[in-house]
């Protein structure tokens, strides 16, 4: 399939992750400076130059597991910690949101506008940090350079590669259900109204021509949908009106993030197949991860800044409950467990991952502020 898909997948999923974390940090009333530090640390790690270099190399997409490991590390790139249940929920929300955006793109090329929407908002998060802003702009320019000139056919291949990656993922997201863009069976609703893609004519007309190319007859017919002309094309420049709303931040304090675990046995069966069947690409995946994480500079939580735990659920009890009731098949196993079971093991990866040991921060009250924080976590 397309060898250019990974950067788009990574940046858009990363963008969704930041939207969700930003919403939860505000919902959990994490102090502004701590919240900003978390977002800055994660964004700065995401757009690290070496990391981006590896990412943009032409390569195939790897498994959801491999990708999830990257995001788990990324989410822990700062003073914030997530329990397994919260990390699971975060990843589910990220993937379903981007799946929705890809599916609804009017033109295959519009996935680039979705990516730019994510980057525009990310730049908003870090507008006070010129160094990180520069890193993001650098990536922006790389995207324009590499994808700006791709043909419609190449974007169609990218679209297909992405959709195959998201195949069989039908987790219900309560916001999508409420807005009626997702059905109760987890499938998205494809709209049959609204603007046609840029470059597409309104359906409903047949024109017939003679040998000289002159129109000799026309028939109009009723098309089932209710379409209107596209107002204008979104901008593919560094700055501009993207026109498309897909990829903008759909979370706000009033729209809490929730998921329902959808459970048709057919879905679970295909998930089971994926996690149990030995992956012939396992070795390449592990090498890829080793290279990517080698390029990732993770700042370890040290110094006077104490860490804190973010909860993707509205209470600790809910989080515990979610961990207990999560269908076994949907549990994402961290990849180093898989590495010891697989025959092929990357020693390089094992060494790098050893460096990423996240030690449990003991809940010592070193200051009144921490007590308060700990209490608020319990709310």
């Amino acid at each position: 399939m397309s060898m250019r898909t990974l950067p788009l997948l990574f940046l858009n999923l990363g963008g969704e992750m930041l939207y969700i974390l930003d919403q939860r940090l505000r919902a959990q009333h994490i102090p502004g400076d701590k919240a900003r530090k978390v977002l800055n640390d994660i964004i700065s790690t995401m757009f690290n130059r070496k990391f981006m270099e590896e990412l943009f190399k032409p390569q195939e997409l790897y498994s959801k597991k491999a990708l999830r490991t990257i995001y788990e590390r990324l989410a822990h790139a700062s003073i914030m910690k997530l329990n397994q249940a919260s990390m699971d929920k975060l990843y589910d929300l990220m993937t379903m949101a981007f799946k929705y955006q890809v599916l609804l793109c009017p033109r295959p090329k519009d996935v680039l506008l979705v990516t730019f929407n994510h980057l525009d908002t990310i730049k908003g998060f870090i507008r006070d940090s010129p160094t990180i802003l520069q890193q993001v702009d650098e990536t922006f320019r790389q995207l324009i350079e590499i994808y700006g000139g791709l043909s419609a056919g190449e974007f169609q291949l990218i679209r297909q590669t992405l959709l195959i990656f998201f195949q069989d993922l039908h987790i219900r997201v309560s916001m999508f259900l409420k807005d009626k863009v997702q059905n109760n069976n987890g499938r998205f609703v494809l709209p049959v109204s609204g603007p046609v893609p840029w470059g597409t004519e309104l359906p409903g007309l047949i024109r017939m021509f003679n040998n000289k190319g002159e129109e000799v007859k026309r028939i109009e017919f009723k098309h089932g949908g209710n379409y209107v002309r596209a107002p204008k094309e979104g901008s593919f420049e560094l700055y501009g009106d993207r026109v498309l709303k897909l990829g903008t931040n759909m979370y706000s304090l009033n729209r809490p993030v929730e998921t329902h675990m959808s459970g048709s046995s057919k879905n679970l069966a295909s998930w089971t197949q994926e996690s149990i069947a030995p992956n012939p690409l396992a070795k390449e995946e592990l090498n890829f991860l080793a290279r990517l994480m080698g390029g990732m500079e993770i700042k370890k939580p040290s110094g006077p800044e104490p860490g804190f735990r973010l909860n993707l659920f509205t209470s600790d009890e809910e989080e515990e409950q979610a961990a207990l009731t999560r269908p076994e098949e949907l549990s994402h196993e961290v990849i180093n467990i898989q590495a010891t079971q697989d025959q092929q093991r990357s020693e390089e990866l094992a060494r790098i991952m050893g460096e990423f040991e996240i030690t449990e921060q003991p809940r010592l009250s070193t200051s009144k502020g921490d007590d308060l924080l700990a209490m608020m976590d319990e709310l």
Binding site: G153, G199, T200, P203, F209, K217, P280
Partner: protein
């Protein structure tokens, strides 16, 4: 009916990574073969799926690291099976009446971008010797005459969108495009005679019922349309009317 899925026990391994698998029944004068095209190569099976009679690995020699390598677009023409590739080349295989002695007889040049689809029909007579159309990602259509050596008869340029699906019927080329349009061309001249603003999203597939001249178009806008193809009694120009 054949349903293709991503898991397969047959060799060479058609594994999970085999995305975009295409399958086609090729009806030849003395046999029927089942042909599979993927990013690994081309496999041909006896019609009951029992034995693989031929395996052609794709030559990725010219491909840059950034190019996806795959086979796409399968059609039978006489005793030939034609399969399109990522480079734009169309591979022509000469198929014997029985047995595995299949030979790659020709590689057709005419396209510069990946082939999307191939359509064939028996030649319509002296006035219309065109019996194969190939389409690619740039929307270019090439019209061919089959034979021990295939001849390129006409080229119909694209207009910036891929042509994912093409059909050939009674000298009429039906092409579905990424912008939702269906075009009908005269195969002998390459002239555009009908332009249908059929769909609001890219066309996924066209199919044709040859006995009744009905064309079906399916697209990503979730709609399926059926069109009646005909020729004007006075001018014999191609016409189309909406049925569904």
């Amino acid at each position: 009916m054949v349903a293709a899925d991503l898991e397969g026990p047959y060799e060479p391994a058609v594994s999970r990574a085999d995305l975009g698998l295409r399958v086609h029944w090729c009806v030849l004068p003395f046999r029927v073969l089942l042909v599979l095209a993927s990013h690994r190569g081309i496999q041909m099976y006896e019609s009951d799926g029992s034995t693989m009679v031929y395996w052609h690995a794709l030559d990725s020699g010219d491909a840059t690291p950034v190019q996806a390598v795959f086979a796409r677009g399968i059609a039978a023409s006489g005793h030939f099976i034609c399969v399109g590739t990522w480079s734009g080349r169309v591979l022509v295989f000469d198929i014997p009446a029985k047995g595995p002695n299949i030979v790659l007889s020709e590689e057709l040049a005419g396209h510069q971008t990946p082939i999307t689809d191939i359509a064939t029909e028996p030649a319509q007579g002296q006035d219309c010797v065109a019996d194969m159309v190939t389409a690619d990602d740039s929307g270019l259509l090439c019209v061919w005459q089959s034979g021990p050596e295939f001849t390129l008869l006409t080229r119909i340029p694209g207009f910036g969108v891929p042509c994912p699906s093409v059909q050939l019927w009674q000298g009429i080329i039906a092409a579905g495009y990424g912008n939702g349009q269906v075009h009908l061309y005269e195969a002998t001249t390459g002239n555009l005679h009908v332009q249908i603003n059929a769909h609001a999203r890219a066309i996924s597939a066209l199919d044709l019922a040859p006995e009744v001249g009905k064309l079906l178009s399916a697209a990503e806008d979730t709609f399926v349309h059926i069109w009646k193809l005909s020729r004007s009694p006075e001018s014999s120009y191609i016409e189309a009317a909406p049925l569904l």
